[in-house]
Symmetry: C2
Subunit: 457 residues, 2 copies
């Protein structure tokens, strides 16, 4: 393999790192539907959003016309601590699979949060600091976002309160300790510390929680405490904007070697990684400059794209957040506790939902045992122990590469390796022990949850 | 900070990666003392060593005249999966400390084993495979070496048996699961699976183990089973040779920007990281081409350099291994169980011992609570959660930088950041909870252990 011209890892120089984020919405003919005020059913104004989010983030959230937005120098400096991230040519995986496909992955796990989440966390912390706030609140599922945010807050000396989905809090105690290293306070959700948490516990005693519950609690605390705002690690337009740094770097690295991908694959929970990874490629597609096959991969146990409906819904279980139009399983949907692979959100980014509805991207769902099989196979040949979330994309990339083996096609496949699985060893252990099972919700379960969608529009 | 000419991370290209390892011994006037046969007291021959080690590794172990040894292409290909590793300019730490010193660290943690250990693991697995062996046995302390070796064995499809120091096996169960992902079998040491393990358990019931015990067990299994050899992650000359890739990359990266370090700092357990990091710098020093201040940092609870004696001793507790002349606390020395920071080996690399004895390097010891203070401070500003082992070097680098703040000297400090602390959260938790304590062995304890040294030469 030594003679290959393309290196194992393509690194940009610091000078080549993006200086602007790219806002896909600017190039979309059908804009994502606006957030609605759940009381009035009318589009939310900047004034209505500013008790929840920082001012500049509100502006970014609502801006669907500016294609490029400057990345402030302070954020670019922080990025340099863990970026540019490598675009890796998976030579060893290709050889193992015996595929003529060329596989690349953008690896976002080389930082202590272990994932791409830090890209948006530092941006959101920066704007909170700039506005003179005391601190921020948030939710976290697998703990990657909470860790990322605690790192960002520590850097800018902001208070950080994290509501952690109870099942993760219990399964991943070490994440808590990392957050503590960075000075954050972490509460298992649902908790008795909020009104909405108390209500959820009363209605669903023994619940293992969901991102939706944790969001409700974090928003409640942010809006009830002076000098605090809420920050979110996925779903929102602003988050996809920040995460576009992933795709911009990926495209710059590919361009350096004249490589044009055929297929781009990303795992999708709320859509932050996928939306970031595909941004510049989707931009070209929207402008008619190029075409790519773009595939979202979601867990079969929480299949928003593939089995959800496109409608206005709450982003949170407590129904206190704005309404977003998105592919959703209903804000009351709580994925099975046996599902270890993250990506547990009931809905999906409004931007990605619109792109999917417009036929500009595809979606597939995969089951978790096959995801962990792919994870282990990948770890053994590529050396990196992947996060379960990322492994959804690995599963699909391997499947695509094996199809190429059958057809003989030399497709170029790019996928997002969002992070590492160092804090997911409990799930790996259940996979090794053979106690991991798959769970696919029934049509009745999904229909019952969707039946409770708010009546809007 | 954006205007700095030196980037945050200096990466070599894959073409610039070393193609040869550097063997410090070739330039040493006083060669390290040879390994002795404990039965005869005579230097061990290649024939005597080959039942324990692979043939090519025996040759490397005994070769003290060849300065450069080719890195086989297969190993260089594997290196490309996680190397070159970045040389990071610690801009944020410098700013936080307010020091005029310039701090660089060579970060070896961006791989699943979480440390530099993979550099030698892949080399040792390669030579075992080349020799047609079935598998290898080894010991592991914190689990970094065992993880690295299991990754390397998985890559070359070799069987891998790991004896893990019991205290780490219990405190770090997740490492076990990583090794399992890579197909290794892991046994807590001392165990009932070997003769020497049974004897140690009989003599010291309730022992939490030591690297010395685990080495004895691994060697016993390797020598009693056909097609197996023993591999070791530190101490040996061959390991320092492989680890020279760290120092060679560091020097190449510094040379690219015309930087000459004043102080080079590395943590030292058995010496693998330190010996690798300093190799080319020490080479220049040995050849009279340049001078550097080189400092080994060891834990106050296991202070081989600073409180040990320079004499022939066993490398293992069971006294079945060859005798090595080294700075040692005696092979019966078992560091306090409360010591969380790795670096628990009673002895030290023969090569480094000779260099230290010749006054070519210094050594200091640091206490573990101050090490974790440095670790947390570093994590908060540099983003990386460091391994406790690595944090010994961070402690010393911070102390040196603070001295520069007092004196106004603009020294250039380079230290080795050997790995990440993702599997050390139990220790971080005890630090956060205030339950972490320091333990310094008494003079009597050390004297009693040293009194039992074998009578040689």
């Amino acid at each position: 393999m030594s003679e290959n011209k393309i290196p194992y890892k393509i690194y940009l120089t610091e000078d080549e790192m993006p200086k602007k984020w790219y806002n896909m919405r600017a190039d979309m003919k059908n804009k994502p539907a606006p957030l609605l005020n759940p009381g009035t059913g009318q589009p939310l104004t900047a004034e209505e959003l500013s008790p929840i989010f920082c001012e500049e983030l509100v502006a970014q959230e609502l801006d669907d016309t500016t294609p490029f937005i400057d990345i402030p120098a302070e954020i670019r400096d922080f990025y340099k601590m863990f970026r540019p991230s490598p675009l890796v040519r998976a030579y060893c995986l290709e050889e193992k699979l015996g595929t003529p496909a060329k596989i690349y992955y953008k690896f976002e796990g080389n930082n202590t949060s272990g994932s791409h989440k830090l890209n948006s966390a530092i941006a959101q912390a920066y704007y909170a600091k700039k506005q003179g706030l005391k601190g921020v609140t948030t939710e976290t599922g697998a703990g990657q976002w909470g860790t990322a945010l605690s790192m960002a807050c520590s850097y800018f000396d902001l208070d950080c309160k994290v509501f952690m989905v109870k099942v993760s809090y219990e399964q991943k105690p070490f994440r808590r300790e990392v957050m503590r290293t960075y000075g954050a306070s972490v509460v298992p959700s649902p908790s008795e510390t909020t009104e909405i948490g108390k209500k959820i516990l009363q209605d669903h005693p023994g619940t293992t929680g969901s991102l939706g519950c944790a969001i409700s609690e974090a928003v409640e605390v942010a809006t009830k405490n002076e000098g605090y705002r809420y920050v979110l690690g996925s779903v929102l337009n602003q988050v996809l904007l920040h995460q576009s740094v992933i795709g911009l770097e990926t495209k710059a690295a590919l361009d350096k070697y004249g490589i044009k991908p055929d297929v781009i694959i990303g795992c999708a929970g709320g859509g932050s990684n996928l939306g970031g990874l595909i941004a510049p490629f989707m931009g070209e597609k929207l402008r008619g400059e190029a075409d790519y096959q773009i595939i979202a991969i979601e867990p079969a146990s929480c299949p928003s794209f593939t089995r959800g409906t496109y409608a206005y819904d709450f982003c949170d279980t407590g129904m206190i957040c704005p309404l977003a139009k998105m592919y959703t399983l209903g804000s009351g949907f709580i994925p099975s506790a046996n599902h270890a692979g993250g990506l547990r959100f009931h809905g999906m980014s409004s931007t990605l939902s619109q792109l999917y509805d417009d036929g500009l991207m595809e979606a597939r769902s995969v089951e978790q045992t096959s995801v962990f099989e792919a994870a282990e196979q990948f770890a053994r040949v590529e050396g990196i122990l992947p996060a379960p979330e990322s492994s959804h994309a690995i599963r699909a990339a391997i499947d695509e590469a094996l199809k190429c083996k059958e057809t003989g096609e030399e497709k170029t496949i790019v996928f997002g390796l969002t992070g590492t699985g160092y804090f997911d060893l409990v799930a790996y252990e259940s996979f090794h022990n053979g106690t991991m099972t798959d769970y696919i919700p029934t049509d009745e379960e999904i229909a019952a949850s969707i039946a409770k969608l708010p009546k809007i529009g």
